[in-house]
Symmetry: C2
Subunit: 215 residues, 2 copies
């Protein structure tokens, strides 16, 4: 089995749990990591890693999300790995999103900005065009030391606070049309099952409306 | 006046001509280059250069094209600088495309592949999805030494040979929706005037249908 491993705090818990099961129960699988950080963690847990381009497809992708709406659409990219996360999710036959209950929102944008991965060249021009789409605020993501955050691919992130989004697919299309925008943190059609972690149990909610493009 | 300078063989002639006029006639302007190669050439000719992000907008962009159709839509990117060329053209108030007569085609794709700038991560997956859009052939662009060509932004180019394209805007939208695709060599709404160089004269054809987004 080939498994995609997301990035961020929830994904860290998933990777640790998989590492434990591999060590304790001999669970065998090949993993594709969505960030340098996740790859490092998985490597330390002796999980076998492959590059995305070395696998034909993934059987399962396991990742978190910043927001999930009732149509199983997601906001992701708080951790800055949105492009690789989207690439890996797109290559997976089944996509499971693991969240805590407060991540469920009526409309995307309610609790999180929408991160947009952009070219480092022409950054100000790209940000000006993003602003024309009506966010209440945009901000170039910075590191703790005040220098621009750089993605694993060498790009920048502009966080866009939009009023709660009625039509995420339309917004995603408008964002993607801007020259200099490489990818957005809106994940549409990339969640087949939602796993909601409660205090003492996990709630599993199948997305019956989502037809996987590879099935 | 702030002028965008394209890349490739035609742009090289333009930059040399501008350099001559600056030296001989004292023509003064600030230039934004679309590639490291063009910047180097302009610097050698003592043309004053600025980064795209250091200018608010450009008054004029001067660039070549691989193909131009009757609706002033272009195929560009043979030189591999398509992203920066598109960023600079998008920031310009007036865009002039300088070509030789044989670059005019009835439909884009007749004589040139459509270059697509893609993420180096997940390259095979992205190429597989590009193939699903029906090109007769795709090829990762290589350097003379056989290693992958890398854009100034650190990305890769997949050249896509499509049958002559009836609806370039639609194809551009479909290409852009693929995760891992950063930009395409289809330039739509980015040519305000066509300058066709003939043996002894230049033919100037205004694009009356193109409303500049900044005007």
């Amino acid at each position: 089995m080939t498994v995609g491993l997301g990035s961020g705090s929830t994904a860290t818990l998933i990777v640790r749990a998989l590492g434990d099961r591999a060590a304790d129960e001999g669970l065998r699988f090949i993993a594709v990591a969505t960030s340098v950080a996740t790859a490092g963690l998985a490597h330390g847990l002796r999980i076998t890693l492959r590059e995305l381009d070395d696998v034909e497809f993934l059987d399962l992708n396991l990742d978190g999300a910043d927001e999930v709406d009732p149509q199983f659409r997601l906001t992701k990219g708080r951790g800055g790995a949105l492009l690789r996360e989207k690439l890996v999710a797109s290559a997976a036959r089944r996509r499971a999103t693991v969240i805590t209950p407060e991540k469920r929102v009526a409309r995307l944008g309610e609790s999180s900005p929408i991160p947009v991965e952009v070219s480092p060249i022409g950054l100000h021009h790209t940000e000006r065009r993003l602003r024309e789409l009506g966010p209440t605020k945009t901000a170039l993501r910075l590191r703790a030391d005040g220098t621009p955050f750089t993605t694993d691919g060498g790009n920048r992130i502009i966080d866009c606070w939009f009023p709660p989004v009625d039509d995420p697919a339309r917004l995603d299309g408008l964002l993607g049309k801007i020259v200099g925008v490489f990818e957005t943190g809106l994940f549409i059609g990339l969640c087949d099952v939602l796993i909601v972690g409660h205090e003492a149990r996990a709630e599993i909610i199948e997305n019956d409306t989502n037809r996987s493009p590879s099935s």
